[in-house]
């Protein structure tokens, strides 16, 4: 129990941040027309690709003779990049469709 209280105490500013971000996320999505659900999901999908930064950090810290970390880290950065790039490109392709004005 003590360790849990200690944990909360040490990370209190993060806990504030998390709670506020939860409200921001709810506020941003609540009043969106249903046609935009798919692109929005896809856009959010690209944003959580921010996990890439963690993968970069972990690969950056790996010792040059620690092959396990190097290989796993490499794969981590690779799939993280796939998430980011693929996510944004797919979203852009979807939204491109919405922008197209009738050409007559």
């Amino acid at each position: 129990m003590n360790s849990i209280i200690e944990f909360i105490g040490q990370n209190i500013s993060y806990i504030y941040l998390i709670i506020l971000m939860v409200f921001v996320g709810i506020e941003l999505i609540s009043h969106v027309p249903s046609v935009l659900h798919t692109p929005l999901m896809s856009g959010a999908n690209a944003i959580h690709g921010v996990v890439l930064i963690g993968a970069i950090i972990v690969l950056g810290h790996a010792d040059s003779n620690d092959y396990f970390s190097l290989i796993v880290g490499f794969v981590g950065v690779l799939v993280g990049t796939l998430n980011v790039i693929g996510g944004f490109v797919v979203t852009d392709r979807m939204l491109e469709m919405f922008k197209k004005k009738p050409k007559k």
């Binding site: 993060y14 996320g25 249903s34 690969l59």
Partner: protein
């Protein structure tokens, strides 16, 4: 951490929030995506080139930039080449990649854990592992289900089994923590990997029973899971942009999931337990009567001399790649002075908004796509409704048969119109696996065949008249 890097992360975080906000409106959506992408780029560059003492090059730069380059090329190719119809499974696949990245980070970090590890260190690592793994495995299953490689799989009492597995995961994590306290990361590797394996099992069982029609909801939920997994990484590294981005997607994704459920009039619990979408379960009241088959010529005449035609596109249209010829038919009818509109059900296609994207791709004007609430009152004044490859979204059982699995789902009231023509490959039932009484309605005629071929015939017939 260097202040410059903090500023880069701040720009990244603000980019995410503003970008997501802009994506919520049709006019600014595309720019919003670019704003979010810009935020991401700034954050990544800040990580690569800014260290403790100002500008530097991150160690192992060669490997990192190599992986990024490879990921960029492959990701761009995949995203560019994918057919618009296959978009939902692509999103699912990319989501799984994010989950995998989160799990891999935890696997590496575990190697560096020392005895007496604090909860503050342990929780983000183990949570990143569990949530990332579930999200990865679940997304891959969802991907396989959407492109038809994996079927539904369910057994009685599955929800209880899932609940038990969830408890086992938490128990395993707790044992891992205890073991790591004594012997550090290396000493507790077995328990760590055991936890991961149970998470894999959970990911499989979590998505296997869910019916294909509910897949978008699940993908959206897994999407928010990956967000939470990314946030765990942020916690671990005191990295604000990961934390902000992750939590933002976590909460936005959860709300999006709930909003999607509402649009389909399904409760999240029902989706997760897998109440509908089963072919073996209740199929509602049996439907009797005979169907009336019609020929393309008759339909062409009907439409040409109609005042108002409403097209109801469904997944069948997408599968047959018939959106272009559909647009052609619309153009020809417009030239004949017929008022043509499209009725878009919130879940037409496989995801909310999916059909709009497909039709927009073939240059159908945005304002011709009418949403369900707006078009429903118009059916009474519609002469011909052309249902192209849609089924469950026009099934009257949703309104008047309480025993039907789709009862309560809002549908398009096509039966209020004067004539209905259904373009369908066969009498096979739709995604929900239930009979459709609409097909037996005396006003309804069936034009059997591939959606694209049938539409092409209609185009030719209308031209020939």
């Amino acid at each position: 951490m260097n202040h410059l890097q903090e500023i880069a992360y701040l720009i990244g975080s603000v980019g995410f929030v503003v970008g997501l906000k802009m994506m919520g409106k049709a006019d600014s959506a595309r720019k919003g995506n670019l704003v979010a992408a810009f935020g991401m780029a700034v954050a990544v560059i800040g990580t690569l080139f800014i260290g403790e003492n100002g500008f530097y090059l991150i160690p192992n730069f060669g490997y990192i930039i190599g992986a990024i380059a490879l990921g960029t090329v492959v990701g761009t190719l995949m995203a560019r080449r994918v057919q618009m119809t296959a978009m939902p499974e692509m999103v699912s696949l990319f989501n799984g990649m994010g989950g995998l990245a989160a799990a891999l980070i935890s696997i590496i970090e575990w190697q560096h854990i020392e005895a007496g590890v604090s909860l503050g260190m342990f929780i983000p690592i183990i949570a990143g592992l569990i949530i990332g793994t579930v999200s990865f495995v679940g997304s891959i299953v969802a991907w396989g289900k959407l492109n038809g490689k994996i079927g539904d799989f369910r057994f009685a009492g599955q929800q209880y089994i899932n609940a038990i597995i969830l408890i086992i995961i938490l128990g395993a994590a707790w044992v891992t923590y205890g073991e790591a306290q004594i012997s550090g990361g290396h000493g507790s590797l077995t328990y760590f990997y055991l936890t991961m394996i149970v998470a894999v099992v959970y990911g499989l069982l979590f998505v296997f029973p869910i019916g294909g029609a509910d897949m978008p909801v699940v993908i959206s939920l897994l999407n928010s899971f990956t967000g939470v997994a990314a946030a765990c990484g942020g916690f671990l590294y005191d990295n604000n942009v990961m934390l902000m981005g992750g939590v933002l997607v976590g909460s936005a994704g959860t709300i999006l999931t709930v909003v999607m459920c509402k649009a389909m009039n399904r409760s999240l619990t029902n989706v997760l337990i897998g109440m509908a979408g089963s072919s073996s379960g209740s199929s509602g009241a049996a439907v009797t009567g005979s169907v009336r088959e019609v020929q393309a010529t008759d339909v062409a005449i009907m439409m040409k001399y109609a005042q108002k035609v409403v097209i109801v596109p469904g997944y069948g249209l997408a599968v047959a790649q018939a959106q272009h010829v559909c647009h052609e038919l619309e153009n020809i009818l417009m030239e004949e002075g017929v008022d043509v509109k499209y009725a878009i059900h919130p879940v037409a296609g496989r995801m909310p908004g999916h059909m709009n994207v497909l039709l927009a791709e073939s240059n159908v004007e945005y304002d011709k796509l009418i949403e369900m609430e707006e078009i429903n009152p118009e059916f009474a004044t519609t002469d011909v409704v052309l249902v192209v490859g849609a089924n469950d979204v026009v099934n009257p059982a949703a309104k008047n048969d309480p025993t039907s699995p789709i009862y309560g789902m809002p549908i398009l009231d096509v039966d209020n119109s004067k004539q209905i023509v259904v373009l369908k490959r066969s009498m096979k039932s739709g995604y929900a696996g239930i009979e459709n009484a609409l097909f037996f309605d005396p006003k309804c005629g069936m034009l059997f065949g591939d959606a694209k071929d049938s539409l092409q015939k209609l185009v030719n017939e209308v031209k020939a008249l």
